[in-house]
Amino acid sequence: MSSVLNSIDIQYVLGSLIKIALFWVFIMITVAYMVYAERRVLAVMQNRLGPNRVGWQGLLQPFADLIKFIFKEDIIPLSVNKVLYIVAPVVVLVPAMMVLIVYPFGPRSAPLPGGEMLSNMLNNLGNSLGYDWALDLRHVNLFVTNFNVGLLYIFALTSLGVYGIVIAGWASNSKYSLLGGLRSSAQMISYELALSLSVVAILIPAGTLDLVKIVEGQGGTWFGFIPKWNVLALFPAGIIAFIVYLISAIAETNRVPFDLPEAETELVAGFHTEYSALKFALFFMAEYVNMTTVSVLAAAVFLGGWQGPLVGSYPWLGFVWFIAKVFFFLFLYIWLRGTLPRFRYDQLMNFGWKILLPAALVNIVLAAVLGVIFL
């Protein structure tokens, strides 16, 4: 046992586990308060109050919701395909959450306050138990891991979520669920093309799929005042890619104005009509985690991630810049929901296939032409 705990791999595994747990808690809090913020901000936009009773200004509302979800009756209708019905929310949530390990929250080796004390304490603890630990926590990377296919990893996992939606729609054996599931999956795969093609144009200046390196490559400025963000790279290819990405990301997460799968006036609640209690909550969480993921990608790939003023001297400021950028996109979701009406289904498909897809393709050509000349 001691030899196992001595090995550096176990320490690495434990370290990653702790980081994953911390970032996961962060994501969960973001999701919970995103739901709250959405209700409050929408209420303000529509000139009403929104939830303001649980705690000061309703700030404890997410916890009240959670408790309610736990104690709700878990209905499994008789006509469902039971195994698939129960598996579907897991299939949706697991890939949605798995992407958090490549979120680039901040720069490499940021100094950890009290890190020296912490590592001494842990090492002493390990030594007193007879292990030979030499942990060094004075500097930590503000991300769990980075590998050279980070972006592909995110794309692969986010597209796996479609399976869960199809399974849920089919297994529920309800007409609304089936139609909602089909619409949802057709919409998601259609817009996923534009999504990945828009990012291809950005990869030409970025030159890597590793999210951490993509962000690192966006440091510095042009002419001393324009930040070297990819959205401005190879002008105007970067900005076109950004617009295409943003539109298809909103469609990809089934949000207003592309929220047809949940068009309550015609499909009740879409693919999760038959779900209740925590199973429903899992779908709900997955939707918001996916929104966070596309916002993270938008911030990291296009808007320079953690890059911003003073990051060189205060690495933790990078975390703040990054979160600010991500929250801007999350706010954009709410803003759009308060502003735009819903597309019709044929308009949605037309827009995806006839406008966004060719726009993304032409933009790749444009980016390549500019790349040959300027890079």
Binding site: V94, M98, N173, V200, I204, G207, K279, Y345
Partner: protein, 124 residues
């Protein structure tokens, strides 16, 4: 390979979370089943027939198109990644022209699909 280890860790972690939720809901939520409650929802009426019926073939076509175009996207990704690392203008132009030929072929297919009316949702 060490960098990839967190994938496994996060998978176990998140799977554990999801399964716990499902089990928790099953154990804690009180259950009081009635016949009407266990029926699939259909605006308060008794469901008419099974939900597993034929649906529009369009969805199937979209899925096929998606696979085709997504494979093209996968070919484009590595090309875009290495593009910058090619230093000389000659090698870069060569790679550029190669990919333009590829995109041109893709585009011909795209126009064909369009003319065949696969993007027209309202047409039968």
């Amino acid at each position: 390979m060490k960098d990839y280890l967190p994938i496994l860790i996060v998978f176990i972690f998140v799977l554990g979370f999801a399964v716990t939720n499902i089990v928790l809901s099953h154990v804690i939520g009180r259950r009081k089943d009635t016949r009407a409650k266990l029926m699939p929802y259909e605006c308060g009426m008794d469901p008419v027939g099974s939900a597993h019926q034929r649906f529009s073939v369009k969805f199937y076509l979209v899925a096929m198109l998606f696979i085709l175009f997504d494979i093209e996207a996968i070919f484009l990704l590595p090309w875009a990644v290495v593009f910058r690392s090619l230093i000389t203008t000659l090698s870069r132009s060569f790679v550029f022209i190669e990919m333009m030929a590829f995109i041109a072929v893709l585009f011909v297919g795209y126009v064909y699909v369009w003319k065949k009316g696969l993007f027209e949702w309202t047409r039968g």
